[in-house]
Every structure is written in C-alpha cells, then in structure tokens.
C-alpha cells in the first residue's frame, strides 16, 4: 500500500507521519509537495499537522487553494482513504470534505498535552483495531482545536455515527472537565458520511514508535494496513 503525505509550506508533522508509514510500517511513502497535482499512484493520502501558510486568515484557509487540493478532493470522492491530522483536519473542514470548523480553544491557550480519548465506534475502517468504548491516550498540540458545527450538522454527525473519537476523563467520562478545548460534544475526530475521510485533532503518529512510550496511535495505521492489504495490488 502506498501512502502520500501532502506537504504545504508550514507543515511540520509530515516527517513524523513518514517515520510511521515508511519507517515503522515499511510501506512505500511519498512526500507530495502542494504544487503537485498527480496523486493517482497513492492509496492513502495524509494531510499532516503544522501551520500551513502560517495559519494566516484562518487555519487551513489558504492551503485549501493549493493546486494539490483538487486532486485530494477527487481522491476522496473516489472513495479512497484520506486522513487529516490536526492542521490537516482544519484543512479538510475548510475544503468542505468534513463538516464544521475548528476554532480558537475556549481557554485561549495553545495546548500541548497527552489526553485520554474514547473510541466511539469500532465500525469505522480507521478504528477497527480498537474496541468501542475503549480509552486510549494520544498527544494533542493545537491552539485552534475547538470543534464547532451548527446544531443540525452536529445532530447529523451523531445520528450517522460519524464521531470517531471524543475527549474524555481517564475513567472514560465525557464531560466539560475532560474537554481540553471546548469542542462541542467533546468531539476530537469525525469522518465524512461514507467513512473514507477522517479528520482528528490528536496526533496518532506521535504515539506509534515504542521508544516514545505509547503506541496507541499505531493501531490506527495498522487497521488501515490490514484493511487495505487485501484490496490493493
């Protein structure tokens, strides 16, 4: 399976992702500069974290107009897999591939921490290797991670089972206290309706290498690999 990691000016988690997909998982991995347009060779596209275009205007707002985005949208519309992590999630909402928006943390501070997350469903391709209701820990690092959507959109997300991860306490309680950034419904990650596009603020790639002491994130990449291993030539 071939991974493609889109690199915008200001991306800074691109190589962390490549260390997981190309290094730990030994899969062909291509860094794709945002000026490129041909990504037909790639099975899974990852939009990494960072500060594309300096987060000018709004996070992800300018990256949306990069030449590569048209191909990324086609990739997603064709049902292929697309993962946006942190700034990548922000870009996906600006592009309109995922609903809602990510805005300034309710506490105003940039948060760099490790937080417990509850797996809301293991029916998704992305969460297959976790069990529903399981609590995992992943790092977060963002100033604009508060998930917001209007009430109709939020209801549709919940009804359709599109919420993948929620911020929770270490005991698994979903509460305002266990919500680091003020996200509505404690949402940390969502998919599109068809489930092939996932956006998440936490960083699974920073919790994949055993030497970092936490491999909770690796299981997301492994699930992807197991699922696709059979279907990709």
């Amino acid at each position: 399976m071939k991974f493609g990691i889109i690199v915008f000016p200001g991306s800074n988690c691109d190589r962390d992702v490549a260390l997981v997909t190309g290094g730990l998982l030994q899969q062909p991995t291509r860094m794709i500069w945002h000026q490129e347009t041909d990504i037909g060779d790639v099975d899974v596209i990852i939009l990494p974290g960072g500060f594309s275009y300096g987060d000018y205007l709004r996070c992800g707002a300018i990256a949306r107009f990069s030449p590569i985005i048209k191909s990324v949208v086609e990739h997603a519309k064709a049902g292929k897999y697309l993962l946006g992590i942190c700034n990548g999630f922000q870009v996906l909402t600006e592009v309109g591939l995922l609903p809602g928006s990510l805005i300034r943390n309710s506490g105003l501070h940039f948060i760099c921490d490790r937080v417990p997350l509850k797996i809301e469903t293991s029916d998704l391709l992305w969460t297959k290797s976790y069990s529903k209701g399981e609590i995992i820990t992943l790092p977060i690092a963002h100033g604009e991670g508060r998930y917001y959507a209007d009430s109709d959109t939020l209801k549709a997300l919940e009804d359709e089972g599109q919420v993948a991860f929620r911020y929770c306490s270490s005991a698994g309680e979903i509460s305002a206290r266990a919500n680091p950034n003020g996200s509505l419904n404690n949402i940390a990650g969502i998919t599109n309706k068809t489930g092939n596009v996932l956006g998440m603020m936490p960083h699974p790639e920073r919790a994949s290498d055993p030497i970092l002491g936490n491999t909770d994130g690796m299981r997301l990449f492994e699930a992807l690999l197991n699922k696709l291993a059979g279907s990709v030539k």
Partner: protein, 86 residues
C-alpha cells in the same frame, strides 16, 4: 470603463459561536474600570483596493471573495463598505 474602489471588509464571528478572546478582553476592560462594557466580540478587518466596471460589479466581486475565502460561513458573518476612488 473601469473604476477604482476602496473597500473595508468586516468579518465577525456568528452570534452562536463563543468568542473566548472577546470574553478575555471584556474582563480586561472591566478590570481597567469600565464596568459598563458588555458583549465584546473580536473580529477581523480587511481593506483592499479593487478595480471594477461599476459599483454593482465591485459588490458582486467582494461577495464572491468573502464567500470563497475571506470569511468561513460555518462560523463567520461579513459585511463591507465600498468607496469609489476619484
């Protein structure tokens, strides 16, 4: 014929969106001795010059720019003022 215009664009958070920066500034103003202050909201101000055939054309272009890039309709509203430059 083309005309030059100066535009002032105001992008503000929709009323339903919590503005923690506005709340922080409001609290600062109160501490400075302005208890009369309420509902501080922080937005963005953008100005630009543009060339258009007439005022209607300039407005149409500005609406497009705001809808496509300058504001995110999920969280923001916008309005603008237009002045013809002589």
């Amino acid at each position: 014929m083309s005309e030059k215009y100066h535009s002032r664009i105001y992008v503000t958070l929709r009323p339903s969106v919590l503005d923690p920066a506005g709340v922080a500034v409001e609290s600062g103003l109160k501490q400075l001795g302005y208890p009369e202050v309420e509902e501080v909201r922080i937005g963005k101000y953008i100005e630009m010059r543009l060339t258009a055939t007439d005022e209607a054309n300039a407005k149409e272009k500005l609406h497009q720019m705001c809808d496509r890039l300058l504001a995110n309709p999920v969280i923001e509203n916008y309005c603008f003022e237009l002045t013809k430059l002589s």
